[in-house]
C-alpha cells in the first residue's frame, strides 16, 4: 500500500506544502537571516552581524515588556486555572441549570481579542470614572485590566477541559474515599486533583502559550499606555517593526529572541508532561 500511496505525493502533500512554504518555511528562514541584517524591505538587506541583538539589550522597552509579560503570565495562569477549576467543581455537582452556566461561561472565549479589548476598555473606564481616573493613568490599572480580561475570556475554556477531566474520575473512587471518612477537602486534594493531572497540564500549557503570545487584547485595551509600561513582548516587537523606519532589523532580532523564549517554555513543558506521564 505504501508504494502506491507514495506516488500520490503531489496530490496529498504538495498543496499543503506550497501553502506552508509561503506562510511559514520561507518567512521563517528569511526572518532568521534578516535578524542579522539592516533592512527596510526584504530585498535590500545588508548583513550587520550581531548588531541588532546588541541593540536589543540597550532597549529599555524590551526589558520592560519582558518583565511585564512574565508578571502577567504568572498571575493570569494562576488565576485562570484556579477559578476555572473551582467553576468546574461547581458544575460537576449536578446543580440545576448547569448547561446554562456552562454556555454563558464559555461564550467570551469565542469573541476576538480586538473586540474583547475594546469592550473591557470601555467597561473599566466606566468603573474608574467613579474614582476620577482612567485605565491609562497608571500601569497597575492596565495590568489588572488585562488580567480581568483574560480571566473573562479564558476561564470558560479551561473550565470545559476541567469538567471533562472531572467527569472521567471514577465515581466509585470518590465514594470509596467518602466511606473511608475523607473530608471533601481531602477527597479534592487526594483523589480528584491527582486524577485530573492530565487536564491540568493541558490547561497550563494552553494558558502559558496564550499569555506569552498575547497581542490583540493588549493592543486594544491599552496599546501599552502609559509610556509603554503595559506593553507585552508581542506588542513591543510590533512597535519596533512598524513604529518607525530603520528598526526593522532590531524588530526581527527581537522576534527571534521571542521565538526562542516561547520554544524553550514549550519544550520545557513537554519534557515535564512526558515525565509525569511516565510516572503514571
Amino acid at each position: 500500500m505504501q508504494k502506491t500511496l507514495k506516488r500520490y505525493f503531489p496530490i496529498f502533500v504538495l498543496p499543503t506544502l506550497i501553502a506552508f512554504s509561503f506562510a511559514f518555511i520561507i518567512p521563517f528562514v528569511m526572518g532568521v537571516y534578516l535578524s542579522f541584517c539592516k533592512f527596510k524591505t526584504i530585498t535590500n538587506a545588508q548583513f550587520v552581524g550581531l548588531e541588532n541583538y546588541i541593540k536589543i539589550f540597550a532597549d529599555k522597552d524590551f526589558v520592560n515588556a519582558f518583565g511585564f509579560t512574565l508578571k502577567f503570565s504568572v498571575v493570569s495562569i494562576i488565576t485562570i486555572n484556579v477559578f476555572a477549576f473551582i467553576l468546574a467543581l461547581a458544575l460537576t455537582r449536578k446543580i440545576k441549570g448547569t448547561n446554562l452556566f456552562r454556555t454563558v461561561f464559555f461564550m467570551p472565549n469565542l469573541i476576538g481579542g480586538i473586540i474583547l479589548g475594546y469592550i473591557w476598555q470601555q467597561m473599566i473606564n466606566a468603573v474608574l470614572l467613579k474614582y476620577e481616573t482612567t485605565l491609562v493613568a497608571n500601569p497597575t490599572y492596565g495590568f489588572w485590566g488585562l488580567i480581568i480580561l483574560m480571566n473573562w475570556q479564558m476561564i470558560g475554556y479551561m473550565m470545559i477541559i476541567y469538567v471533562a477531566g472531572l467527569q472521567n474520575v471514577p465515581t466509585d473512587l470518590i465514594e470509596a474515599a467518602e466511606i473511608d471518612g475523607a473530608t471533601s477537602l481531602q477527597t479534592l486534594f487526594k483523589v480528584k486533583i491527582p486524577m485530573v493531572m492530565p487536564s491540568i497540564t493541558i490547561c497550563l500549557f494552553l494558558t502559558v502559550s496564550n499569555s506569552f503570545k498575547l497581542f490583540d487584547q493588549n493592543l486594544a485595551l491599552t496599546a501599552g499606555a502609559p509610556s509603554k509600561k503595559t506593553a507585552m513582548l508581542a506588542l513591543d516587537i510590533y512597535n519596533t517593526f512598524y513604529g518607525r523606519s530603520g528598526f526593522e532589523g532590531v524588530g526581527q532580532a527581537k522576534a527571534v529572541l521571542f521565538f526562542i523564549v516561547v520554544a524553550v517554555i514549550a519544550l520545557g513543558q513537554l519534557v515535564l508532561t512526558r515525565r509525569k506521564e511516565v510516572e503514571q
Partner: protein, 279 residues
C-alpha cells in the same frame, strides 16, 4: 444529604451572580450603543433616557464609516474557504505523512509540529512582505496563507487520529481496487469526521478573530478588510473618536459570534475539549 443540598443552593446562587457578572460587559456595550455619543462617557452605566437615546444613529454611523457588511462578507469568505481548504488539504497531508514512512515525511512532520510553537511575530514581517511580492494580498491569497499557517496544528491533530485507525480497512479497500484517493475519501475521511469538526472549529475561531495577519497582508486601502481590522480602524490607536459608533460596532461584531455559538454549541464545546486533549 441535606447539607449537600444547602451547599448546592448556595453554589447555585453564586453561579447566578457570576452569570450576571459574565454578561455585564456585553449588556454594557449594548446599552451604550443606543446612547448619543456625547452622553456615553458621562454616565456609562445608566440606561438610555429620552434625552440620551440615539436610536440607531450609532449603528448607521458605525456601518457607514467602516463598511461593516462588506467586512462581514470578507470575514465570512476568508474563514469559510480557509477552513475548507485546511480540512481538505491537511487531512490528506496528514494521511500521507502517517502512512508513508520515509525520511522526507518524517522531516515534514516535525516541521509542521515545529511551526506550532513559532509565534506569529517571528514571521509577521517577512510573511506579509512575501505575500505582497507574490500578489497574495487578496482574499484568495489569504486562504492560501491561512492554509499554510494553520497547517501545523491541523496536520498534527489529524496525524494523531489517523495513527489510531487500523490499517486493515484501508488495505481491504486497496485490495478491492481503490486507488489511494478513493481509499482516502471513501474510507478514511468518514472516520476522520469528528477530528475534522474539531479542526474546523479551532481554525474557524482563530481565523474569524485574527487581526494582525489580515491587517498586515491586506492593509487598509483595499475593500477586503475583515471585521477585526475595521473595528481597530474605527477605534484608532487608543482613543475612541466616536464612542457611539464604536459601541454599535462592538455589538455588531459580537452578535454573529453569539448566534453561531448558540446554534452549534454542542460541536464547539466538544471540539474544544477534543482539541485540547489531543493538542
Amino acid at each position: 444529604m441535606t447539607k449537600k443540598k444547602t451547599s448546592n443552593v448556595i453554589i447555585f446562587c453564586i453561579l447566578c451572580v457570576l452569570v450576571v457578572a459574565f454578561l455585564t460587559p456585553i449588556f454594557f456595550v449594548l446599552i451604550n450603543s443606543f446612547k448619543g455619543k456625547l452622553f456615553i462617557s458621562n454616565n456609562p452605566f445608566a440606561l438610555p433616557t429620552a434625552e440620551t437615546f440615539a436610536g440607531l444613529t450609532n449603528y448607521v454611523n458605525g456601518i457607514e464609516k467602516t463598511g461593516f457588511f462588506t467586512a462581514f462578507g470578507w470575514s465570512a469568505f476568508i474563514t469559510v474557504f480557509s477552513v475548507a481548504a485546511i480540512i481538505l488539504f491537511t487531512s490528506m497531508t496528514a494521511y500521507y505523512l502517517t502512512r508513508v514512512k520515509t525520511g522526507v515525511t518524517n522531516v515534514l512532520y516535525y516541521m509542521f509540529v515545529f511551526s506550532m510553537i513559532v509565534p506569529f511575530q517571528m514571521v509577521m514581517f517577512t510573511m506579509s512582505k512575501l505575500a505582497n511580492m507574490t500578489h497574495l494580498n487578496n482574499p484568495p491569497g489569504m486562504v492560501l496563507l491561512y492554509l499554510g499557517f494553520g497547517s501545523g496544528l491541523s496536520v498534527f491533530m489529524f496525524c494523531g487520529f489517523i495513527k489510531s485507525i487500523p490499517l486493515d480497512i484501508e488495505e481491504a479497500a486497496m485490495i478491492d481496487g481503490c486507488n489511494p484517493l478513493q481509499t482516502f475519501f471513501g474510507v478514511v475521511m468518514p472516520i476522520l469526521k469528528p477530528t475534522a469538526i474539531t479542526v474546523a472549529i479551532l481554525n474557524a475561531m482563530w481565523i474569524w478573530n485574527d487581526y494582525l495577519l489580515p491587517y498586515l497582508v491586506i492593509g487598509l486601502s483595499t475593500n477586503y478588510k475583515t471585521i477585526p481590522v475595521v473595528v481597530q480602524y474605527l477605534v484608532g490607536s487608543y482613543g475612541a473618536k466616536d464612542l457611539g459608533a464604536m459601541m454599535a460596532l462592538l455589538v455588531l461584531s459580537v452578535i454573529p459570534i453569539i448566534v453561531f455559538y448558540l446554534t452549534c454549541q454542542k460541536y464547539i464545546i466538544e471540539g474544544v475539549v477534543a482539541g485540547a486533549v489531543k493538542g
